[in-house]
């Protein structure tokens, strides 16, 4: 098993409760004010630089808080060759910042060299499953550590999918020896868009595989007179997502949870409010479990 061969770095079970996605707008206030936030997660690509202000800021923040790195550009599900330069830069960031967790997405972005710079949906076929398992194994071998793989929001499904997304995710993680970063908002968004039961999704996933949870805001638009939820990461976490999160905690236990916000980024205090709420729910769950 890959889990036995690749050591999980120190502190993986010690991420304290809830964290917040780190954005450049907040670097200064995090360093100056040292807010009561358990940990921060940074987008790996934002710290690819050889040096400069962003790298300096994350270096300082890493001295104050546990940090996780979350990649958005590796295109793990793509049939294009793995971008070795991107992977090498990821490895350099991992060495530089010593993150507690490293994660990427169960999606693809490029074909024939053209990169959409978006998290595109996979067909949930046996062929895709084998490919994604192979790619995750390649990434873990290269980085010398376990990664987590995150479910993405989707706005379409493929009629020739051979299994549900939850089953695909479960089987990929089991076969590749990676962990799961379960994005509860993404489960809700996709379930609404495809008229599925988000609670049923949770039942498919094995609790020991889930190492991190993401929460974020979404937006509702109307397409052809029908509601469609868009994963904007630009709003407070919606109430139905909090309800689904409570159910997730009951199933998966006290999993470190991150509040993400990527567009129209508000003051850190706003994110902190959602992080505090997640923390309270984590504590509640812990008390019930005890």
């Amino acid at each position: 098993m890959l889990d036995d061969e690749i050591p999980i770095p120190r502190g993986v079970s010690l991420l304290p409760g809830s964290g917040v996605g780190l954005r450049a707008q907040h670097h200064e206030s995090v360093i100056r004010d040292r807010p009561e936030i358990g940990w921060f997660e940074a987008h790996t690509e934002n710290y690819f630089a050889d040096g400069g202000a962003a790298v300096d800021a994350l270096t300082r923040i890493r001295e104050l808080y546990p940090v996780a790195l979350h990649g958005v550009g590796l295109s793990i599900g793509s049939m294009d060759p793995l971008d070795i330069d991107h992977l090498a830069r990821t490895k350099r960031a991992v060495r530089r910042f010593e993150p507690v967790l490293v994660s990427e997405h169960m999606s693809w972005s490029s074909a024939d060299g053209l990169n959409a710079n978006d998290l595109l949906p996979l067909p949930y076929t046996r062929e895709a499953r084998q490919h994604v398992v192979s790619r995750i194994s390649q990434v873990q071998e290269y980085l010398g550590r376990q990664i987590l793989i995150e479910n993405v929001s989707s706005y379409l499904e493929f009629e020739f999918s051979e299994m549900s997304e939850a089953m695909f995710l479960q089987e990929v993680a089991s076969a590749a020896g990676c962990g799961i970063l379960l994005d509860v908002n993404n489960i809700y968004v996709s379930a609404q868009n495809h008229e599925r039961d988000p609670y049923a999704y949770l039942e498919v996933i094995s609790p020991p595989l889930v190492k991190e949870i993401h929460l974020a805001g979404h937006q509702q638009i109307t397409v052809q007179g029908r509601p469609m939820l868009i994963d904007t990461h630009g709003a407070r976490v919606a109430e139905p997502v909090w309800q689904l999160y409570r159910c997730a905690l009951q199933r998966f236990g006290r999993v470190p949870t991150l509040i993400e916000w990527d567009t129209d980024i508000p003051a850190l205090a706003v994110l902190q409010q959602d992080a505090t709420r997640a923390n309270a729910m984590l504590e509640d769950g812990h008390a019930v479990a005890a």
Binding site: E45, N46, F48, A49, D50, G51, G52, A53, A54, V55, D56, V72, G73, L74, S75, S78, M79, D80, D83, H86, R89, W108, S109, S110, A111, D112, G113, L114, N115, A116, N117, D118, L120, L122, P123, T125, E127, A128, H131, Y155, L156, E157, F158, E159, F160, H194, E195, V223, Q224, R226, M228, I230
Partner: protein
């Protein structure tokens, strides 16, 4: 059923060109048609590209306005689509694109302003390097100076233009509504942009200083660099220039 490779190829064509090239993508319509579902991804892809360019080229954005900037960027994207998962490299050819687009009109300075902004971006994210250790130079036999090669700070970028791009650029980084007009005939500019101790400095250069740093950047020996510089600027004083560039952090080492 298409293979995963065929599916991804058709999907990406649909996003970039609006047509899957004959591949049946097998998208479940369920009351919302396939083009509209694909359109959500196509739109996100475009928005991400444009937003990245807005971040890299704030002065060009302010100069041309939001609407025209978006139009230019989308035209640029057709010629130079992203080929990396790291969007921060997206703007690398934008200055050349703008220079060609406006080669013969009153906006012919735009390409140079974009070039200056890209230099700034590169300086911002380049590696650190400690400052020059003068004792290292003192330990070298003066007779060997001619064959020495100086090293520039990794963040240093040289920039030249026939237009007053620094003035244009700096004026358009503020939010001021009433900008004073800038005369394009103000003259040529040669600049060195370098980040030292976390701060970016922009230094005006004479033709001699620019030529000298260009030679150093090309890894020429000190002797060759000075010879080449004197061909451009007979009054160039290598001693004064060296002191200036060591003091301002442009030159960081010698071998």
């Amino acid at each position: 059923m298409p293979s995963l490779h065929e599916l991804q190829r058709g999907f990406i064509q649909a996003l970039f060109a609006g047509d899957s090239g004959g591949t049946d993508l097998g998208i479940v319509e369920r009351r919302i048609e396939t083009p509209l579902r694909l359109g959500i991804y196509a739109n996100t892809s475009r928005v991400n590209f444009v937003e990245s360019m807005r971040t890299s080229f704030p002065a060009v954005l302010r100069l041309v306005g939001d609407g025209y900037f978006r139009q230019c960027v989308l035209q640029y994207r057709e010629q130079c689509p992203s080929r990396s998962g790291d969007l921060q490299q997206t703007g690398i050819a934008f200055s050349k694109f703008l220079a060609l687009l406006h080669a013969n009109d009153e906006f012919r300075y735009l390409g140079d302003v974009a070039c200056l902004e890209w230099c700034w971006q590169e300086t911002l994210t380049a590696a650190e390097h400690p400052s020059f250790r003068l004792e290292k130079l003192a330990a070298i036999d003066p007779s060997a100076y001619g064959q020495m090669r100086f090293l520039l700070h990794p963040s240093l970028r040289l920039f030249s233009s026939e237009f007053p791009c620094r003035r244009i650029w700096e004026s358009n980084l503020t939010d001021a509504a009433d900008l004073a007009p800038i005369n394009l005939q103000y003259g040529a500019e040669r600049l060195a942009i370098v980040r030292v101790a976390g701060r970016i400095r922009v230094h005006d250069l004479s033709i001699g200083e620019y030529t000298f740093l260009e030679s150093v950047q090309a890894a020429e020996t000190f002797e060759t660099a000075v010879e080449r510089t004197l061909e451009m600027d007979i009054e160039f004083d290598a001693g004064i220039a060296l002191r200036r560039f060591v003091a301002n952090g442009a030159i960081v080492d010698c071998v």
